[in-house]
Amino acid sequence: MTPCHHPGEDILLAHAAGTLGAGPSLVLAVHLEGCGSCRALVGALEVAGGTLMEQLPPASLSSLALARAMAAIERPLPVPGGAPVELGNAAALPIGMPEGVILPMALRGRRLGRWRWLAPGMRWSRVDMPGYPHARVMLMRGGAGTLLPAHGHRGSEFTQVLLGAVHDDGVRYGAGDMFVADDATNHHLRVGGDGECLCIAAIEGRMRMNGLIGRLVQPLVGP
């Protein structure tokens, strides 16, 4: 299915430039797997990056640089520590998933935490981000019709729908759609009525929970 909601140009540019945070980049990578037009655009921006790099005045290298490089390529490949592929298979589905979910390539091989209670009808699982201790990425699932605790943001939240749909003030985000909420946004998210919903979300900055449930949940999802 072709996505209807796409990340903004500034986000695609930051991704191509390598300046988007690790968490949002992962969410975007999931979106790109299912979105040919964003993929083409990121590809074009990478062409732009290469062209700009090409146009930079070349830096001078140390006199031994070439000799070092020619020696380095003769050395055997280091044996990788642990086979990532096996890790991928073992960790691919350590937790239950709603029926019909195909785990995106970008998530294969990542450790996923067990499902925890988030709110009535809602559960979440932490997506491990090795090397990025401050990245906060989570899977969230909710049954048909579930209301998420109303919340706002200081910073941004990047969400990609993997299954089902969520509605936010009359806008429907279906599988393959990505949406970004910033500090100006106050969410009133509701899972679509036709079935369970699964999303991946990355949070940058702090989330501001409103209401009683929000205040209960706040300590669970982190600072």
């Binding site: 140009e9 655009l41 990478e46 090409e54």
Partner: protein, 203 residues
Amino acid sequence: MSVPDGPPAPAPRAVSPDAWSTALLAIARTRDRGAFEALFQHFAPRVKSYMMRGGMAAAVAEEIAQEAMLSVWRKAELFDATRASATTWIFAIARNLRIDAARRDIRADALLDRDGASLAASLAAPDPAPLGDAVLLCAEREGAVRSALASLPEDQATIIRLSFFEDQPHAQIARELHIPLGTVKSRVRLAVVRLRKALEELL
């Protein structure tokens, strides 16, 4: 195999797979050391320059450039000339190394992961023998992007350049250029829309 003996013609280039892509394919096929040397002489100083633009010290930038070129040698088989030119592919490798250098927690397998995930590198296994037409289409696509980039108004081009090199979020660019954040974002949008149009006109 012919080793390129000079830099390719400056952009916009003729629509043909460039000499650097040919050199990269020669490494993939026959571990051609002459081709690697030519690639190193051309790209290593530019990768170093790219790293230094992001604020990296010269010595560190040179280390990363070495690392990038070693990756080029080791991953040449992953290069797919129907998806990207050598310049785009090497830029993606350098960019990923810059991201990893920024967090200074380099693990060899993490680097492999990132490059494996890179779009320019390839989303799927490359064809063993890329079709000539597909390579030409790729060159044409990249040529269109380069022309669009070259014809951007200066204010938009500046924002794009800063976005790639200065390693700063747009809020910082806005402060530096003394323009509102909204203006940065709208210039980004205008510039990216132009690049998108250039791509669409090819379809």
